[in-house]
Symmetry: C2
Subunit: 367 residues, 2 copies
Amino acid sequence: MDATHDEHQHEHRTDGPDGVDARAAAGAQRTTVGALGELAVLDRVTRRLPAGSPVLGPGDDCAVVAAPDGRFVVTTDMMVHGPDFRWAWSSPEDVGWKAAATNLSDVAAMGAVPSGLVVAIAAPPDTQVAVLEGVADGFRLAVDALAPGCGVVGGDLSTSATFSLTVTAFGDLGGRDPVVRSGARVGDVLAVSGELGAAARGLARLFRDGVDAAGEPDVERVRASGADTDPDVARQRRPVPPIADGPLAAVAGATAMLDLSDGLAIDAGRLARASGVTLELDPAEASAPDGVVDEVALHGGEDHGLLATFPVGTRLPGGFRRIGVVRERTSHAGADHAERPVDLVRGGTPVPTTGWDPYADWDGVAG
Amino acid sequence: MDATHDEHQHEHRTDGPDGVDARAAAGAQRTTVGALGELAVLDRVTRRLPAGSPVLGPGDDCAVVAAPDGRFVVTTDMMVHGPDFRWAWSSPEDVGWKAAATNLSDVAAMGAVPSGLVVAIAAPPDTQVAVLEGVADGFRLAVDALAPGCGVVGGDLSTSATFSLTVTAFGDLGGRDPVVRSGARVGDVLAVSGELGAAARGLARLFRDGVDAAGEPDVERVRASGADTDPDVARQRRPVPPIADGPLAAVAGATAMLDLSDGLAIDAGRLARASGVTLELDPAEASAPDGVVDEVALHGGEDHGLLATFPVGTRLPGGFRRIGVVRERTSHAGADHAERPVDLVRGGTPVPTTGWDPYADWDGVAG
């Protein structure tokens, strides 16, 4: 809709709000987007979205968003049915929540306060309108919980053989420098905010208990197994990134920061390489509230916590807790005796900083 | 990539730039994105994109873009394989060009100067890397031609069963009010900039000459029919919106403006309803450079010209020419004798303001 609610309007299909409402009422819950048409779908979806307070909202070719800082931060991220979510495992509300949360987390990771979102959704024509309404509800719930006052200021509704959402999020730096990945200095404290490992444990549970005999995602198995009430599954479906801790970290003087999208080890590797340092995890007994950065916390993704470095002596803000320290970049002799730089080390042993590749690793299953 | 070039990095698949280059050379033109992996694909795509001059470019969770006006305009638009383009009819360069051009046009339609783009691309794993390189080339060619100095400041690369691109574009208002659809006043001159009808004629030619006996899009038929050298087909593939005329119109005092994405009649209807006026087209002999706003110009979309209203006596800027005038909103008795408001009229006869609905009208063909 080009940030517009009446793009592709089609008076040949609807004869005004009364006609739309009558048809919607008749179709009840089972109406497809193809049957209802874009204008009516937009109307039903838009009223459920969080409006925020843009300078100019939907209805024109563009929305207008305030950028009092004179700059804005921007990130875009796509969620695709199949590689990124399965309807058997996530409700429409879950999908909307996660799409909002992951993008808000990227904004927070720069030290910025979220100022707006735009959302492009592609849905097959046989998609139930209730699915899009649920996705919109998920956006509203996530924004209300994680970034109150922010809103969806525009969007686009398209058709496709594959359901996908692309969210683009903006934020305001409030006059501060953006906190980048490359700023960590030797001696800084390494700290983390947010949960570690819950989303990965939840996904593992779904892969274990939420599939049928052929290994296909199966909503009935999810229910029967009790996975629906597993708090880890809840975190996989609706991550709760510590959005407010991003700006707090910037104010406290964080030297580097990023969003933990792919797991502590992978993301620590990115920070280490960008900053040209080696990150050293504290001994297990010293780390995290429960004293453990375990293997799941190290290698499980999708928690969307924040990893940051702070100058020694900084009083860690919000939910941040120390997990290590920044060292000079070191190298390590591999099995082939070649020296390789080390990103992350614990107890003298390098921690692998590898992970998921969507092109190589997606198994093609949607579900 | 969350506006990032090293997201989802995966050292287990590549062992540095040398390994990547060696594999790329071996695979030559036929390498798929699935075989090459995301990091190497990103590297090859990113270097072809126009960089622009963001405050902070790719490499972090967000890019940072200047907004000297203290506000920014934003639009998002998705292009999906099937309903929006067919590979048999458009090259990857064409697809990239069009995705950039249509979004830049929405920015111009607010009277803003484009300041940046972010691009999310979802590609099936068997997509040739050369396809993504071509799309990136299309972005660069379009930005260089239409909005020099603008650039792609971030993006996301995902996998999907269906190829799609979502472009989000930003612009700066330079201290001016945004030009909205609702500002047309009775007595204003109605004017248009850019071509009318060429893209629709080009699409009609492709539907006529670019299909096989079964009606499926067919690249060989396109070639054999000579459609490849048809200037109208070129405009369908690579629209040339008059981007600079958007800010010029704002400076000249345009009271309302929008992008002609769906045809003059549909888009005039939007402006008329938003402003609460009736638009009256001049008699044919008085309109357009060649004296004609013909049926194709009225009802054909995708030219991405600009439709605007100006106070009487305004010297029309750039490529704008007069096509009509703004009247008080009138009504007309339909065949059922009910009075209905009239959006657009010519020679006393209402012009229908209807068009394409992606959910209802896509035939499911990709090609």
